[in-house]
Amino acid sequence: MAEDLDLSLLTVSSARIAVQERQTTAVALVEKFYKKIESEDRKPGQTNAYLALTRDRALAQAQKLDKIADAGEPLPPLGGVPIAVKDVIVTSGVRTTAGSKILGDYVPPYDATAVSRLEQAGAIILGKLNCDEFAMGSSNENSAWGPVRNPRDPSRVPGGSSGGSAASVAAGTAVASLGSDTGGSIRQPAAFCGVVGLMPTYGRISRYGLIAFGSSLDHIGPLTKSVKDSAILLRHMAGHDSMDTTSSAAQVPDYEQEIGKLVRGLRIGVPKEYFPAEMDSAVGAGVHGGIDLLAKAGCEVKSISLPHTKYAIPAYYIIATAEASSNLARYDGVRYGYRSRNGKTLSEMYRFSRDEAFGTEVKRRIMLGTYALSAGYYDAYYLKAQKVRALIARDFLEAFKGVDAIITPTTPTPAFKIGEKSDDPLAMYLADIFTVTASLAGIPGISVPCGESADGLPIAMQILGRHFEEGTVLRLGHAFERARATPQA
């Protein structure tokens, strides 16, 4: 019965089987998750991953699935799988704030494509997850609704900006979650919380309904307990969507089948720029250990160079903020969102509304982006950054002529303390140093836990692949997880 299920061990496939085989009803499973959320997440000082619970919607879906299972019919592929959604992804009739006061009362009239596809495949949406305001941050400290705590150590950040997405999966208050990644916002929190986080190729999953930050860089992706779960969820979200013209028409493979293939003979590149001399020793040891396990499984390991790596952070923070300054111009207090009572003229209303409701980091990025796009600076900053972006992408395309995948650390250090970097924007930006490169190039990347620091904090490696070759990335991640679970002789 439901009482015997350990929620923290449930995976996408085992949750479906439990409901299908009537070890639990979907309704009882949902109630059990809400009980866990209420007792472990919502009280002051607790994880604070959830911003809203979608109880009615979850129970309606669960009842539908129970009827199917009661009749002995097969459940849809994600039937009964409880999932939670980052609050930058819109949900019809459910408050969606993007972690911002400016959208504090916003109730969208439509669902994001990724959400509706998961729900159509039988997933149950439990609620909305905390994040940095407009996905701008690397620690989840920029949320208007308070920071999220890392379930592995409550004095530390969960990473960001998908901090609630990573923390909910790590704490077992969701079986899996959706996040968004613009410069590392899925992979970095996944690494800090010890879960698996996938950023697919740009365009693989529709961005329709993803509240825009940097449109040429924004991705939706899953955070899960295993690479296999990631493969299953990707398959059900990927594919062309007429509502997003940048979504790809490329064929969507059966990723669950892809991960079963052998990794023997795959060539792995290890870029020297991602292993600096001053690197955290536990991170270096964890990632090298991971690469060694894949070598033992028959992969060929090669040293490579991605020479423009160190220019990725400066290029990224120009391009992302320039796009953000344009995207966030829509928050003007007219059609939706917060409106100041203090503006007497239209122009004052715009300025006061934005001033009163945007947080410090969002204002900083709007200012930086506006400056980079302003007359006299466009060529020196924005155009220059786009050219450097082309060189970073070219580095990867060249490297992928000789290797099938690239392995790096996901982050330079394990999770840092809450408050440690919150007064130093540049130090915070450098937390993304190993993840922004793939975002700029638009290639897929997955973060997979590969070790622990002396303090027991998770360490993760990042596996990058060619455009639209998520199959290879997932296959290597899965092979590594299996090798790691097998005792070494």
């Binding site: 109730v107 059609r335 939706y336 007497k344 450097v388 070219r394 455009h467």
Partner: protein, 102 residues
């Protein structure tokens, strides 16, 4: 220092941000420190490099579909739903403070 208080005021006006005097001071300091770091981009030789505005230019041909659809009428968001989240509306339109002075 690249950015002065005057620049901060000018950019804030472009971005429709008010910013308190304390925020402006902090902004000047932060933007200068970030731009100092970003300046390393000038080391990179980008002559003969085309700017990359979109991933599609490097992710392979044929993967992205033709963005044009047939020019046919399709239902759009009903008016009451479009107005539902407005801070102020009269049921037909969004309402804003008066723009034209008599």
């Amino acid at each position: 220092m690249k950015i002065t208080q005057k620049d901060v005021e000018y950019v804030a006006a472009l971005a429709n941000l008010q910013l308190s005097p304390a925020e402006r001071e902090r902004m000047e300091k932060d933007l200068n420190s970030i731009l100092d770091y970003i300046d390393m981009l000038s080391e990179v030789d980008t002559s003969n490099v085309e700017p990359m505005a979109q991933v599609q230019s490097v992710s392979g041909n044929g993967s992205f579909s033709d963005p044009l659809r047939a020019d046919e009428l399709r239902p759009s968001l009903p008016r009451e739903l479009a107005l539902k989240d407005a801070p102020q509306s009269d049921g037909s339109f969004f309402r804003v403070p008066k723009v034209i002075e008599r």
